[in-house]
Symmetry: C2
Subunit: 347 residues, 2 copies
DNA sequence: CTGAAAGCGCTTACAG
DNA sequence: CTGAAAGCGCTTACAG
């Protein structure tokens, strides 16, 4: 049978109150008594019941994390960092992936509420239907940290996607590219598209909307989407010498499609991705991409959340932004740009 | 403030006992009363406190899952299936990755015990130090399902790694290969190595230990390990026309090294991987590999665990084995190169 | 069908 | 320094 505090008290010949004191190390306990109790705890292999503890202490030492998918290296990596960091501080993490399904988001919020988590980290993009839970939870006093700066009243840790995308596109510009296509998808990529547009604007390059591919549909197979998008570009006879993709999987799909169409990467077309998943360095050609400081971001997220848990009275939502880092690899390496496209000089 | 069952009782003008009955839908409650209570619950947005419930019901509706790493598509995929399946049945999953660190395994077991999880799924390979927890937990009556057939007294769901590896190597043999190298690592790959050896044996091919690369060290960067292993084979002038790698990441690293050494895949050397991660189909060349039925395995794992939770008296450890599927792609395909790649696109 | 009461395993003032 | 007792938010016999 499960060992309870009573068993320990009996074994050590003290009251349960004293055992409790030893467990929590708060009040003073005579050394002799303490040793006796510690021995009993060890002997019985006693572990205090979290549920009973939770009821009194009003804290569960549990954090909820909501992400879109676990089988995506970015989210898996971030989840792992968050979990490890929380673990060190005695917290347990409940990870929930919602597959971008509002019903699942709803269900997850309910789980978090039932489990009375001490705080919540939201990595998903919430739907209209579920975003109200954020307000409910805030009202209830449950601290929340978001990983996207979507919600004005919620604390947030995020990478500087706009800057990262700008850096990537500016790199292409410096290599001489003028016709740079963009492949992206729904809301998560908005900031990256902004960066793309900003960079072009700042170089006074006229936007060619015909080589900008995006969709509001939920994209599940990013690589497939990248692949299809290139085929669309080719079919529509879009002119481009480079492609900036909103993430690495799209970029890898794009390269595959380009190669199949007999277009060489990077010789004929340069490709840049985003995220620096581990495959980016292994792919052939290896992928130029933008790296997010996942570890630092994960830690900062946990720090911010725990801070919020300790001092619930933060009046204003804080936003912390991390810089991104351009990683230059083969897919758009320092290839010399063919000056064959004379017409581009007219830009 | 948090809404409790008392608030609902007051709002609905009944006793907390009746509210409890409505929540759990067990005893009969007059329809009128029920509606009144349901309205109150909705109005106050009440959710029963899991902790209080747990104390009485002796179940937490929580399952612990221990895996080596989350940033590995195989484990991420399996975790997601397990989580979804459990979610449907009203269970919450606590995922813990131990990074193959015995201390972390220990810590995770402690967390599982403190949280009084209703059951545990072990995907990690346990160290001598931590394997005793399995016995402790079994003694305590906590059901456990393992994802490797290592522990004789523990129920287990696993893929047929031996058969999968045999299929892969037999495929190479059918293509005419006779000098097939093997790249693998620590205990997780043992069964795959067995399959490799079995296949060679059954074809009466003498084992050439000089082209079998393995290690007992913890391998963290599989792709890097595959890369290094090929270089070792090349340095030692090992003769081989094909390589069977114990997982896809090793295979991808191997291909990279082969290419860098001027050896073409699959023309000069065929490569086969294992797992069928999503990148296997996207890599260039795409990877011939062995696919595990992750979804079915995840579901079977959950079913088996819940079964165990319901009927704790299973006398004998059951082992369920799933067949693997060989996926033939370019990296060792019987593929002749088609020069259809000639259509140049004017960009 | 419904309510009063006991009890789950802890923590924490309150006394001593 | 230590113990008796109240109480956390529920569920569930036990009465009615």
């Amino acid at each position: 049978m499960k060992v309870t505090i009573k068993d320990v008290a009996r074994e050590a010949n003290v009251s349960i109150a004293t055992v409790s004191r030893v467990i929590n190390g708060k009040d003073r306990v005579k050394k002799e008594t303490r040793l006796k109790i510690e021995k009993a705890i060890k002997k019985l292999n006693f572990r205090p019941d979290q549920a009973a503890r939770t009821m009194i202490m009003k804290e569960t030492k549990t954090i909820g994390l909501m992400i879109p998918v676990l089988t995506n290296e970015y989210w898996a990596g971030l989840s792992e960092v968050i979990q490890d960091t929380l673990g060190e501080k005695g917290y347990t993490l409940i990870i929930g992936s919602d597959n971008m399904n509002p019903d699942k988001q709803e269900a997850l919020f309910n789980v978090f509420q039932e489990r009375k988590v001490d705080g919540i980290i939201v990595g998903s993009v919430l739907s209209d239907k579920t975003v109200k839970h954020v307000d409910d939870l805030k009202q209830e006093g449950t601290p929340i940290v978001s990983l996207y700066p979507f919600y004005s009243n919620v604390n947030c840790v995020t990478g500087d996607h706009v800057q990262g995308a700008m850096d990537a596109v500016q790199h292409l510009l410096q290599l001489g590219h003028r016709k740079i296509a963009y492949i992206g998808a729904a809301s998560t990529s908005d900031y990256r598209e902004m960066g793309y547009r900003n960079a072009l604007m700042m170089s006074s390059i006229k936007m060619d909307e015909s080589i900008i591919i995006k969709t509001n549909d939920m994209v599940r197979k990013f690589s497939h989407y990248g692949y299809e998008s290139i085929n669309k570009l080719i079919e529509s006879k879009g002119e481009f010498t480079a492609v900036f993709c909103a993430n690495d999987l799209m970029a890898i799909g794009a390269i595959k499609a380009l190669k199949e169409a007999g277009i060489k990467v990077p010789e004929d077309v340069a490709v840049v991705g985003f995220d620096d998943i581990s495959m980016a360095g292994l792919y052939q050609p290896s992928l130029t991409t933008v790296q997010q400081p996942i570890k630092e971001m994960g830690k900062a997220t946990v720090d911010m959340l725990l801070e919020l848990i300790l001092h619930k009275d933060e009046p204003i939502a804080k936003k912390v932004t991390f810089p991104m880092k351009l990683i230059v690899r083969e897919s758009c390496g320092a290839k010399k740009f063919m000056p064959s496209d004379n017409k581009q000089l007219s830009l």
